[in-house]
Symmetry: C2
Subunit: 351 residues, 2 copies
Amino acid sequence: MTTEELTARYAILAEGSFNPRDSKTANAVLRFIPEAAAALIDSTQAGKTAQQVIGYGGDTPIVSSFQETLKYSPNRLLIGIAPIGGELPDEWRIIVLDAIGEELDIVSGLHTFLSDDEEFKLAASANNVKIIDLRKPPTDLVVSEDRWRERSSYVLLTVGTDVAIGKMTTLIQLMDFLRASTLNSVFIATGQTGLLLTDKGVCVDAVVSDFIAGSIESEIMKVDNDFDLQLVEGQGSLFHQGYSGVTLGLIHGSMPDGLLICHEPSRKVNDYGTPLPTLTEAIDLHKAVMKPFREVDIIGVSLYTAELSEDKALTAIKEAEEETGLPADDPVRFGSAKLGNAILNTVGSEK
Amino acid sequence: MTTEELTARYAILAEGSFNPRDSKTANAVLRFIPEAAAALIDSTQAGKTAQQVIGYGGDTPIVSSFQETLKYSPNRLLIGIAPIGGELPDEWRIIVLDAIGEELDIVSGLHTFLSDDEEFKLAASANNVKIIDLRKPPTDLVVSEDRWRERSSYVLLTVGTDVAIGKMTTLIQLMDFLRASTLNSVFIATGQTGLLLTDKGVCVDAVVSDFIAGSIESEIMKVDNDFDLQLVEGQGSLFHQGYSGVTLGLIHGSMPDGLLICHEPSRKVNDYGTPLPTLTEAIDLHKAVMKPFREVDIIGVSLYTAELSEDKALTAIKEAEEETGLPADDPVRFGSAKLGNAILNTVGSEK
């Protein structure tokens, strides 16, 4: 995390939507950098704390208006949800303008870029504040140049049997464990939420599709000499017909040395009703798409077990290990040691 | 083809680049709608005909400047190449402005949209001409809604062991044969060159990557009730690390009933030096990525044999049939009957 991120204090706008499901961007701040959460705006929950509503985020207060956040000294306004279609709701425009008037920088992960809005642009310029569109792609996009062959760091990518199954969360959980090792590790974000947590990476789903592979290859090569291990956030799934293109572009653009497979044992179908694969099927297909290019280590399985009792979660972990012969764990629930050591053992033996 | 395309007369700009390889957009016009080619601009080849340089395109004259094209009465200027990076070379700006001054519409397949250029926009408005950016995506992009299950037409997609291996050409060759059958067929373009030849389709490599699958699904569903058979132009290759994301998005967005595999027997590596797969490996990987969703007919193999003697081409066709057990042919060289009948037999038996 850069100094800038560490000193960020977010007023988080999640009006009418703060809950475990819909406020994905807000929730990532509360889970991973709660010290950066000054206050949340959701008038339907005002008076509660984040902890009371979503089970984490501690004492972060929920208030009913932007004005009320000011006593918590925010320096940024974060658009905390991603509405369908990726556009800013009309009734939020005035809040953004108020925040700019109070000299807060604006941070947004919407597909519609707030920094291109004429009214916001003028206001930001008059108040000397920045509008940061997390999804805005770099202006110097290039197609892949197949540069992985000259790489010296080990690249680990998370992939999943479905979307929203822990590909980012797994890596963030593992970072602390890996930072305590002798390996010099870095997290490379590929989505708007991940980019709240680091300044390294690119929001691949917002890149023109000819440049998917090239965009992540560039980000990886930029820091190749500075790190031993790059943890690249996966996107989508080869088993999700809506976003599989992003997934394969990311796989071939990062050309990973190793994969961690993310899976939710109790989820049976994706959001289109298509059955999820078994872990064996998922491993086979990922090996198959990598085979024309290189061998890939399948390092382990990260399970999302929040919906299961602890007993059932432990059983699911044991079953995953028996099915795949790989280490499996839920790093959010049971800690990072097992999967972290699996990574260290694999990378250590390769270096 | 619409009336508008049939009456287009293109002055084709390919300065310094007119040859069998680099002027892909120019060459598609010369191969498929040569009656629409008024003249070519390439001062390094002035005085020759298209036929003399690339082996087709008939008497289309090559001249050294835009001014010289005027005696051939063009009504559009076509940017005939796709330079690396997809931007307009600086020295071509004046040619575009001259053409606008002469009231020619401008047609471009560049990634950089000429219709967004302030100077071109003003000039076009003053001269009442259109700037058509073939690659510009629709403004109403949606993510996939998994609508293939409600489809009534048969969707055939070309896929390849590499890029630039005949995925568009194969379908255009087959169209005449299929139009003579009782099946009502349509060609759906997915690249800027294909979009020169039809008004149906979308340039998928220029779509923001979250929308690859949704963009082609929309185009297919728009005409589903009007046709029995949709021939969808493939893009990229699962075996090309630069563009495989576009390829898989297109495969899962179109969710084809059948695939035609395109291959060049004499090509050993892709443009990154990665070995091309065998036909068996290509068929297996395409079946594998489709398996989570549906069964797919592998209809046949379209070979690109231009680099081989006729004897060697016939041997390559025989070997492809023996390896795969499927009908194989080079429809450009030996006609459309074999692959066309393979399609009719498959689609006929399904309808």
